[in-house]
């Protein structure tokens, strides 16, 4: 027989919870986004190399614009691809 303690963890308690979104640039005081820092820019693109929307990353508008510029500069310099499959 399953006791009450066992049943408690049958479903993931975090499912259905709302995760707090925040702008990492504002929270951690990052003022400059480096377009040569590919590993960092990888956080803001999906596996096709597309720029993720603010809806998913939680960036504020000001920094989303800067992220977009940085990704586009990195693409021009062939640090990131314009089109890709399975980048991650």
């Amino acid at each position: 027989m399953a006791t009450r303690e066992d049943i408690k963890f049958l479903s993931n308690p975090k499912i259905g919870q709302k995760r707090n979104k925040y702008c990492r640039f504002r929270r951690f005081g990052i003022k400059s986004i480096d377009y040569t820092d590919v590993d960092f820019l990888m956080n803001f693109i999906n596996d096709q190399g597309k720029i993720l929307p603010r809806r998913l990353t939680g960036n504020s508008l000001k920094y989303q614009r800067k992220v977009a510029t940085a990704v586009k500069r990195a693409r021009h310099l062939a640090l990131l691809p314009y089109v890709a499959d399975n980048m991650k």
């Binding site: 951690f28 003022k31 480096d34 590993d39 500069r73 310099l77 691809p81 991650k88």
Partner: protein, 140 residues
């Protein structure tokens, strides 16, 4: 004087000396035009994300300098870049004060990469926002 930075990619099929000479040529040109060179960073031969002119790798150079406002040194340099077949790509960016500070910190090695970065990218593919590696950036 206003601060700029230029990244350019040189054809890797040239010999090591020729690559260095080509880069030095542009540095000398800027010096002659009265620009103040702050730093020349040779990043070495790196893999390109997509082929350019049938080359799959390139020698990256990153040049930081100050040029007088209104001088046409940069436009002349870009014209030379376009005429030079050995330069695959170039990008000139105006540097604001945050970026200038970032560059100084970067050269001082404040943003040394941690082992965490690889873990972080896998986590982020599931659209999670993670803290640890960001803290390395906070210092700047």
């Amino acid at each position: 004087m206003r601060q700029y930075e230029t990244t350019f990619i040189i054809d890797p099929t040239l010999s090591g000396d020729e690559i260095g000479q080509t880069a030095q040529m542009y540095v000398d040109f800027l010096k002659k035009e009265g620009c103040e060179i702050i730093h020349l960073d040779e990043k070495g031969i790196m893999q390109l994300a997509y082929p350019i002119n049938k080359r799959t790798s390139g020698a990256y150079f990153w040049l930081e300098y100050k040029a007088a406002i209104g001088s046409d040194a940069i436009s002349q340099m870009e014209l030379a870049f376009r005429r030079d077949d050995n330069v695959l790509r170039y990008l000139t960016v105006k540097v604001d004060k945050n970026r200038a500070q970032y560059n100084i910190d970067k050269r001082a090695g404040k943003f040394a990469k941690k082992a965490e970065t690889t873990e972080e990218t896998t986590e982020n593919s599931e659209n999670k926002t993670t803290k640890p590696s960001k803290e390395a950036k906070v210092e700047g």
